[in-house]
Amino acid sequence: MSIPRIPLGVWIETAIDFMVEHFAFATKAFSAVTESVLELLEKAMLAAPAWLLIAVFTLLAWKLSRKRGIGLFTLLGLCLIWNMGLWPATVSTIALVCIATLVAIALGVPLGIASALSQGVYRVVMPVLDVMQTMPAFVYLIPAIPFFGLGKVAAIFSTVVFAMPPAIRLTCLGIRQTPRELVECADAFGSTRWQKLVKLQLPMATPTIMAGVNQTVMLALSMVVIAAMIGAKGLGGEVWKAIQRLQMGHGFEAGIGIVIVAIILDRVLQRVGARQG
């Protein structure tokens, strides 16, 4: 006697098919809107001459980090990218990462707060996060296509799924780590839950939340190559092209571009986070 194979894959497929059938019109519409916003953002950035945008990014990096070194690195790094002819791809990647990160934070931070304050939410959210983080990122790409179609929005969707967990986890951790005595004190002075959150827990958790945001940005960047497989273009698209054509040099150039963008974002965000603390 043999145990029949459990058709887990079939079930999941049926469920997704069902959802595609009934909800895809909505997600497709959302996709169309997002795509046009993204393209607008990209076009606007590309309309400006590259040197101007590089100057703006340099100034921004310098002012936000308050470090000349980081400003200088931004200037040289972006000039190198421009020089390698990767500027349009880089702009596309930055736009994608920015939007994915914003969505991930907009969803992740409130979810993190909710799971810090409610044990029930915590118990539901944490296992979901475990799944999100351990499931190979490629797997998200498959259902992303029927819902959002090939292209950038599907890429953003899978990037958000992949990059959101640290934002949730670290927000939750930051709030839960507020020293017990301080929470007790806020209670002893008659604070409501909301007052406690806004006046004590969020300010105390800000450095930790910023660390989560930083992680989210990094993960989003690391997802751009994978997302290129479903048409995200950008620097990841260049890498993906180079893989298919075995162009070692071009692959590394695009890879270095990603590294430069990653280092700039990481350093700037770290400095901003440290200042909050």
């Binding site: 020293p179 008659g190 604070s191």
Partner: protein, 398 residues
């Protein structure tokens, strides 16, 4: 008037705490209950009350449940059984909103490790309660500044807590509590994290502040010296239960059991004993205008003493006569004691500490008169009785 009343209050930590309450009623101890049910008894049927304007110190070793008891009073910890009343209102029956309002209106709390909000300035910390209350910024700034001034921190309002020393941080904690002008101050080991010199200063300041603000203060401490110094009354706890409630004198001179006795064993007794507690009630005195030298001499002989205190017609202490002077007077055939009364004798108030008595008595052979504000003679301290009282306390400690 009773400001705080605690009735039969218990706190059990762990699931299904009712089981432990039953066992407590059956007279089982904390350890037995833990062995049987894995439940931990925090507070064991505690009952006491605090009068308006009084400082009551809850004292016990760590783990004796004193912090838990005090947190049950403002329900930072939810009591398992029993009742707490503040101004006759049952705190234990309030809903969340009522409780918040009560905390804001009546109870300020000061914490062991200060619990200052590190991201707020000193002023913003002092303002916290007022901010929660919804007071407008100008007014709360004003009140917070006044309360910072009260604790001697004027000029520091824009600093961050991390820039202040421990003693100053706790002043901020105190200012934060005082800014709300609460009737009750709950002070949880408020000075325990400070080093000894600063701690003594803060104690002195609290006492002088209390003279001005007249709060009802419930102070938690594990330090007996602190309890004796601050407390109008002391509540002594062990294993979650109250062992003794009484004035510092009561605790020292008539400890309720071995535990209290061991607790008080380390106290420097001479700091705590006062003239009143070591004096003898003087049964024999002479009366000016009534007793002559012969009568005085007879009284001295009867009691085996060589000097006699004499009182005037209003029963106030007039001075002291010595036996040799009486004999001389008899020899001269005079009858009035007045010329031989020595008026330059040492007198002390009833609350003078025993250490000071030693100083006053050294270099003086005659007994010390203990006199109240009205000039009435309350008792007499002789060297023997002072040493005796101290020796007796020393013996019971061993």
């Amino acid at each position: 008037m009773k400001k705080i009343e605690v009735k039969n209050l218990s706190k059990i930590f762990g699931p299904h705490p009712e089981r432990a309450i039953e066992l407590l009623e059956k007279g089982k101890g904390k350890d037995e209950i833990f062995a049987e049910t894995r439940l931990s008894v925090g507070v064991d049927r505690a009952g006491f009350d605090v009068d308006e304007g009084e400082i009551v110190v809850v004292m016990g070793l760590s783990g004796s449940g004193k912090s838990t008891l005090v947190r049950c009073i403002n329900r930072l910890i939810e009591p398992t059984a029993g009742q707490v009343f503040v101004d006759g209102v049952e705190v234990t029956a309030l809903d969340a909103k009522g409780l918040r309002e009560l905390r804001l209106a009546k109870m300020g709390m000061v914490f062991q490790n200060f619990a200052l909000f590190p991201h707020r300035t000193v002023l913003a910390n002092a303002e916290y309660g007022l901010e929660i209350k919804g007071m407008d910024p100008a007014e709360r700034r004003d009140r917070a500044m006044r309360s910072l001034d009260q604790v001697g921190l004027a000029g520091w309002e824009d600093s961050l807590p991390s820039q202040l020393s421990g003693g100053m941080q706790q002043r901020v904690g105190l200012a934060r509590a005082l800014a709300l002008d609460p009737d009750i101050l709950l002070m949880d080991e408020a000075f325990s994290a400070l080093d000894p010199l600063i701690r003594r200063d803060m104690q002195d300041e609290l006492i002088s502040l209390q003279g001005k603000v007249k709060k009802t203060i419930l102070f938690i401490s594990h330090d007996l010296d602190e309890a004796l110094k601050l407390g109008d009354r002391i509540v002594l706890m062990k294993d979650g239960a109250i062992v003794q409630v009484g004035s510092p004198e009561d605790i020292l001179t008539s400890p309720a059991n071995d535990y209290v006795e061991r607790f008080v064993a380390e106290v420097d007794i001479t700091k705590v004993l006062t003239a009143e507690s070591v004096m003898k009630k003087s049964e024999t005195v002479g009366f000016l205008g009534h007793d002559g030298p012969r009568a005085a001499l007879r009284k001295m002989k009867q009691h085996g003493i060589s000097t006699l205190f004499v009182l005037d017609a209003q029963h106030r202490l007039a001075g002291l006569v010595a036996s040799e002077d009486c004999a001389e007077l008899i020899g001269r055939g005079e009858r009035d004691l007045a010329p031989i009364v020595r008026t330059d004798i040492p007198c002390v108030a009833p609350d003078t500490p025993a250490t000071d008595l030693f100083l006053t008595m050294s270099g003086n052979s005659c007994p010390l008169a203990v006199v109240d504000e009205g000039g009435r003679l309350k008792g007499v301290v002789v060297k023997g009785s002072l040493l005796g009282a101290i020796a007796e306390r020393g013996r019971t400690q061993e």
